[in-house]
């Protein structure tokens, strides 16, 4: 100890002599010593060579290492250009810095910055430093820092983290963080542990886990590289053999493998061939063949072969040679990311996970379809009332949906509280569209009850007029209808299955309307009268029911529901003057598929249309347009077998 102190004192003197500004610098401090060992590469500051320096710091076990790494990362470390000693520094002004000792952080004093150079680690190096810092942060007293460290590991896991993580697991008092640490430890074990058995055990431990993190790690571990060889390769690391020309390996790719493995001569592309020929045109001919005759690939091949024979260009493989080469070699995929045993275990685990994943995706799809179905149901229920009960096709139904949505938008202009505004908008939208529906029934529809095709056209006239009117009033750009904050976010079951709260709300709304409809139709005087008028208007009239009034109310009711559907749809889609058009055809199809005159039919129709659309989209995920086309095709075919919908009325009722 004494010896060391003396030595330190001596060095201090030397340092003080060399750099007059450094009064209290402690060059003998172990941390400084360590840095000096790697001084050259630290000063060089290159991402490719810096590794050992950071590693040395991180594994030194010195208490100051964390601070040094942090301040280095923050570009607060400087070094003296002559002695190479490192200090922390803060810029005082443009030419002066205040320096601190790196061992104990004590202030040394202000010095001119001429002799010092700042270390400016680039982002790559900062990343490496960050990785090294993780092990310190894992045991940081602040739980947020520990969490941050875990996130950092998850983003960029490295073999080195494993030991650090294991070291930091004990003594973790926060149960949530402890669980995450444990899970991360198993993930890292899976990927980085030195013992294959441990890795396989960890993989098996994750059997059936749907986490995105597990799948990401497993997928990394089963990564393969394609190769080609003359003989079927031996060895457990061969994932599988490939057949050229199959779906997994095209002929061109297979030949490309041979070429890159230098097992075959390269082929020449059409463009390269043409370029070679063009480069060798002499006096209007190539290798003695007239340019004017080179108007076909065959002729060009011959000319190129002639050039190759003359030694002007490299010979290339002919089609026959290509075929022969492909025939003579085997193609395979080789595990490259993990030892064969581990990779195979990972493969098995992935297979099992994918099966469960499929089931869960199906569940998620069913949820999606359910929410789509409830939207169609909401959009179609009003139509089902007017079409089913009154046999009136209302082409302006979509515009009533739009009116409802715009009502919501206008309410939000005046009422800024979103919860309150939606609560006002729902009944108001009902009133507005109820009024519009009653007006339309009184002014137009009742004159056309016996001419359904003309009702269709007249309501279409109203539809285009309303649409343009909305455009003239609100402009063509989309207007927002904002959901209250408590409807943000999703109900998450696991990494695969989730559903947003808005969709749940719409589903609940659809259920409410189903209940409301059933109640009104089966339990109220109005419903009784509506059913009577539907079945036999003349008889109903003779019993004192006023069919005019009933028709008016029914139409208003159907239109009012469209308005409420408009608010609901506006919450998750944009409000535009054309939004009604997006739903009208689907709504019609829902009613047609479900069958007329029965609310359960509409429900089934909506479920079928929704499920079908989601199902087709899932099978052909890149293309929702094609999905809709297929759905329409399906419905046209469906009508073939059930022309009157799923729930069809029979006998005299159907002919009435």
């Amino acid at each position: 100890m004494i010896l060391r102190a003396v030595l330190g004192l001596a060095m201090l003197v030397v340092a003080t002599v060399a750099a007059p500004g450094l009064r209290a610098q402690a060059p003998e401090a172990p941390i400084q010593h360590l840095l000096q060992e790697h001084g050259e590469i630290i000063a060089k500051s290159s991402r490719r060579t810096i590794g050992p320096a950071i590693e040395a710091l991180a594994t030194s076990g010195l208490p100051e290492a964390q601070v040094v790494l942090e301040r280095w990362q923050a570009k607060e470390m400087w070094f003296h250009e002559e002695t190479g000693l490192f200090v922390f520094a803060e810029e005082v002004d443009r030419s002066t810095i205040k320096i601190f000792d790196i061992a104990d952080g004590s202030e040394i004093g202000d010095v001119p910055d001429d002799d010092y150079k700042q270390l400016k680690p680039n982002s790559g190096i900062r990343g490496l430093i960050g990785g090294a810092l993780v092990q310190f942060q894992l045991s940081d007293p602040n739980p947020r820092n520990r969490m941050r460290a875990l996130n950092a590991i998850e983003r960029r896991p490295e073999a080195g983290h494993l030991a650090a993580l294991r070291g930091a697991m004990e003594g973790e008092d926060n149960p949530a963080i402890a669980a995450r640490k444990a899970r991360l430890e198993r993930l890292l074990t899976m990927e980085f542990d030195e013992s294959e058995e441990a890795r396989i055990a960890a993989i098996e431990g994750f059997a059936g886990d749907l986490g995105v993190d597990v799948r990401a790690v497993l997928n990394r571990m089963v990564a393969t590289r394609r190769g080609a060889a003359a003989e079927a390769p031996e060895g457990a690391d061969i994932a599988r053999l490939l057949t050229p020309g199959s779906e997994d390996l095209s002929l061109a790719d297979a030949y490309g493998l041979l070429v890159s493995a230098e097992l075959a001569a390269p082929r020449i592309s059409r463009d390269a061939k043409r370029a070679a020929l063009v480069a060798n045109i002499e006096n209007g001919s190539v290798a003695g063949i007239e340019v004017a005759t080179l108007g076909s690939e065959g002729a060009r091949d011959l000319a190129y072969a002639a050039l190759a024979e003359a030694g002007v260009v490299e010979p290339v493989a002919t089609e026959a040679q290509v075929a022969e080469a492909l025939e003579a070699h085997v193609f395979f995929e080789r595990y490259v990311a993990a030892p064969p045993g581990v990779a195979q275990a990972a493969q098995v685990a992935l297979g099992a996970i994918e099966l469960r994943l499929g089931l869960n995706e199906a569940a998620d799809l069913a949820l999606d379809a359910l929410s789509l179905a409830s939207i169609y149901f909401l959009a179609a229920i009003g139509l089902a009332i007017t079409f089913g009960v009154m046999r009136v096709i209302n082409m302006a139904h979509g515009e009533f949906i739009m009116m409802g949505a715009y009502t919501g938008y206008v309410v939000q202009l005046f009422v800024s509280d979103y919860t309150l505004s939606i609560l006002i908008a729902l009944p108001l939208a009902f009133l507005v569209t109820f009024g519009a529906g009653v007006a339309m029934e009184r002014l137009v529809i009742r004159w056309l009850y016996h001419r359904p095709l003309e009702t269709l056209l007249a309501t279409f006239g109203i539809s285009i007029a309303l649409q343009q009117l909305a455009k003239n009033i609100f402009g063509t750009q989309a207007r927002p209808l904002t959901a209250p904050g408590w409807l943000d976010g999703s109900l998450v079951f696991n990494d695969v299955v989730s559903i947003s709260y808005i969709r749940i709300a719409i589903f609940v709304l659809a259920l409410l309307f189903l209940a409301l409809f059933l109640f009104v139709m089966n339990r109220t005087r109005l419903g009784l009268e509506v059913r009577a008028v539907t079945q036999n208007p003349r008889m109903a009239a003779s019993m004192g029911i006023n069919p005019d009034r009933i028709n008016m109310l029914t139409f208003g009711f159907g239109s009012g529901i469209a308005g409420i559907a408009g608010v609901a749809i506006g919450l998750y889609a944009k409000v535009t003057s054309e939004m009604g058009q997006d739903y009208i055809v689907q709504s019609f199809m829902t009613v047609v598929v479900g069958g007329v005159g029965n609310i359960w039919g509409t429900l089934l129709g909506a479920s079928l249309v929704g499920l079908l659309q989601k199902g087709i989209e899932w099978m052909n995920p890149s293309n929702t347009l094609a999905a809709q086309t297929y759905m329409i095709l399906f419905i046209i075919l469906f009508i073939q077998f059930r022309p009157r919908g799923i729930i069809a009325l029979k006998g005299r009722a159907a002919e009435a």
Binding site: R270, L294, H450, A458, G461, Q468, N472, I639
Partner: protein, 420 residues
């Protein structure tokens, strides 16, 4: 159109028995002659080339309106998808126009290359030119015969015809009628439009086909001349189409389809295969629509999937209803009047109407007006503009021979109430 005088059955020529056909053809000829004299191409140049194109397009719209009248006015099938057939005809001819013209351009540009082009290079060049915009570089299979004018012309007739045949067979066979059928035809055209909208439909997605006004190999002919060719072609097609439709709806066939319109079940009990008649009319009208489309789009210059959106077909029904369905000249009048008015109003040529407190700009308000006037026509004038002609003719001594058969409120109401 049924003027069978009983007892005597004089075999007069078809046109003589149907004077309205003769009047129509005379007016059409006069109109064509007038436009020819006034246009730039061969006349004194009072009418601009773009207006000649507008008139030529209007003639095509009249032709497709005739087809619609055949289906709806006479047979009672309210098809809301006939513009799909119109669009398919346009796409069929557009493919050839675009391919052939691009081929000339590609050959032209490749001829500057040091080596003479190979067929593959030409094909790739064409594919790149046409499909670069949707990020593809290979000709889709449906372009296999795009190089051949006769085959694409055949497609103008066959593609709409086959689609109508298959769709109609499916729909009529399962006795889908009335509003159900309307919705189904609407779904058909929506399906087609959605399919065309995708980039990998092979028909350039929502870019559609463009440059169709340029005839391949006739780059030197000015548009003023080309426009007249198409104008004459459209007039000829309309004339022929009118005579064909008049012939179809006259005589016993006309009787049967009008009977189907009024009481389908009764016609069945007379022993007529109703479905076969409907299918015949549906397919025939689809073919006429396809031909009209093939003449329309070279004058329009561009076709894209929006043209076959459901709204277009509904407008077609609007024209026929406003003109007066169940009479051929009604369809022509409706299509010509409404489409020209639409062009005038939406083209910004109509003067704004100043109400003092609000300035009505027709570009914005024309659609509202059209929609409302459509409601008014349906409510108050179910016979459409053609009803005016009845007012004039019915002042003469009552002669029920060959009186026109508009939808009689009494007759139709009872049967339609029965149908649903």
């Amino acid at each position: 159109m049924s003027d069978l005088a009983i007892g005597a059955a004089p075999r007069r020529p078809f046109v003589a028995r149907h004077p309205s056909v003769l009047i129509f053809l005379a007016l059409l000829a006069l109109f064509t002659l007038g436009v020819t004299i006034l246009a730039e191409g061969f006349g004194i140049g009072v009418i601009s080339t773009s207006f000649v194109k507008t008139l030529g397009k209007t003639l095509c719209l009249c032709l497709v309106a005739l087809a619609m009248d055949l289906v709806w006015g006479y047979t009672g099938i309210l098809s809301l998808g006939h513009m799909a057939f119109f669009g398919l005809g346009g796409y069929a001819i557009g493919m050839w126009l675009m391919y052939a013209r691009t081929e000339l351009i590609v050959i032209e540009s490749l001829s500057a290359a040091p080596l003479p082009p190979t067929p593959d290079e030409i094909r790739d060049g064409i594919a790149n030119q046409i499909f670069g915009v949707v990020g593809a570089s290979e000709l889709p299979p449906i372009w296999a015969v795009a190089h051949s004018l006769p085959l694409q012309l055949a497609a103008v007739v066959l593609v709409p015809g086959l689609l109508a045949l298959v769709f109609g067979w499916l729909a009529f066979r399962s006795r889908v009628t009335g509003v159900y059928l309307s919705i189904l035809t609407q779904a058909m055209t929506l399906g087609l439009a959605l399919w065309l909208f995708q980039n990998d439909s092979g028909l350039r997605g929502n870019n559609g086909l463009s440059g169709l006004q340029n005839l391949p190999g006739l780059g030197g002919v000015p548009q003023s001349t080309v426009s007249m060719w198409f104008f004459w072609g459209s007039a000829l097609a309309l004339g022929l189409g009118y005579v064909l439709c008049a012939w179809v709806v006259s005589g016993k066939f006309g009787s049967v389809i009008r009977a189907i319109r009024d009481d389908e079940a009764r016609v069945r009990f007379l022993g007529y295969p109703v479905e076969a008649f409907k299918l015949f009319i549906f397919t025939l009208s689809a073919v006429i629509a396809g031909i009209a489309g093939a003449l329309y789009y070279p004058q329009a210059g561009i076709i894209n999937p929006a043209e076959v959106a459901p709204i277009a077909s509904i407008y077609l029904a609007v024209w026929v209803a406003i003109g007066g369905r169940g009479r051929l000249y009604g369809a022509v009048i409706g299509a010509a009047l409404v489409s020209l008015l639409s062009t005038w109003f939406t083209g910004g040529q109509a003067p704004d109407l100043d109400l003092g407190f609000y300035r009505i700009q027709w570009v914005d308000w024309w659609t509202v007006l059209l929609g409302l006037s459509f409601v008014a026509v349906t409510l108050f004038a179910p016979k459409g503009i053609g009803g005016l002609i009845d007012l004039i003719t019915e002042r003469r001594p009552p002669d029920r021979h060959g009186a026109d058969l508009g939808p009689e409120p009494g007759a139709l109401r009872e049967q339609e109430a029965d149908a649903k």
